[in-house]
Symmetry: C2
Subunit: 157 residues, 2 copies
DNA sequence: CAGGATCCCTAAGGATACTG
DNA sequence: CAGTATCCTTAGGGATCCTG
């Protein structure tokens, strides 16, 4: 990737918290938060399952689940089982589902660049093949890393 | 996204650090680390630029730059300017560049789901349009969030 | 300019126990 | 099952100063 635009005053905006990546990291940038989101994408919905599967303390889970809910990534939804009292479960909102490319991107990167278990896969329900993430422009071209430029846009005010 | 496979013993593998996402988060899962990687993708190479543009303390920058270097995401490369003594700069390795889908994915998600400045863009050098990330299977199908299944693969040993 | 060394300090997270 | 409450510990990071 290369910079075709100098971005001289980048220092101003990048360090004052206006970068979208910075905001995103503020929400899902911690290990517990991201792993909870991973679990949510795996289909986990109940508190105790989050706790045991992610391997964090209940208090930590409660804190982050609440934060993710307030941030609009998860939603508490009551459900009712036969004869049991109503409970809440945490399900992905559209914004939470929209994080899937990041989750899968991290997963795919981890598989490629760290050693370890690759006994779990994300696959396409339709054809059964493994999924990955591709960078693509709005015109539909596949974009290689060194075909990406960073640029400042004129503010539309 | 849905689970077509029960993944009953998921609890065993997911909490013991063998998940690729967990490993990836161990490397780039902290705010400073990810922001340093962001800066690297923006084209930043020098220590002081990292410090000022990310807005972190030099010690923090040094720590994480070293960790990222040891993890193989960055590489120290000596460079020489006229009349000045040689210095090192941090450049992305292939593994670091390979993280670009995640960086762009976070960026795009942040633009969509957080309010704030969208005065910076990632664009395709070839055609000039904005880039985004797409989930796709190896057969080339675009994959929607609820077309993704998680499954256990039989270990190939 | 590119860090290393120190000090300090707070917030995050684990462990454990308890409650509706 | 779904949390809350408490305690405790540590690593992370800011600030400051120093060095090749």
């Amino acid at each position: 990737m290369q910079l075709r635009t100098p971005l001289d005053d980048r220092s101003r905006w990048s360090s004052i918290g206006r970068c979208p990546i910075e905001k995103a990291m503020g929400l899902v940038g911690s290990r517990p938060a991201m792993l909870l989101m991973r679990e949510a994408h795996y289909g986990t919905r109940r508190f105790d399952d989050f706790v045991t599967r992610v391997g964090i303390a209940p208090a930590t889970a409660a804190t982050h689940l609440r934060a993710l809910t307030e941030a609009g990534l998860l939603e508490r939804r009551p459900y009712q089982e036969e004869g049991v009292r109503a409970r809440d479960e945490y399900v992905l909102t559209p914004a939470g589902e929209d994080l899937m490319p990041v989750v899968i991107g991290l997963f795919a990167w981890g598989v490629r660049h760290t050693d370890g278990a690759d006994d779990l896969q994300f696959a396409h329900a339709g054809c059964g093949r493994v999924v990955d993430v591709r960078v693509e422009c709005t015109a539909g071209h596949e974009v290689a890393p060194d075909d990406v430029v960073v640029r400042l846009r004129r503010r539309a005010r």
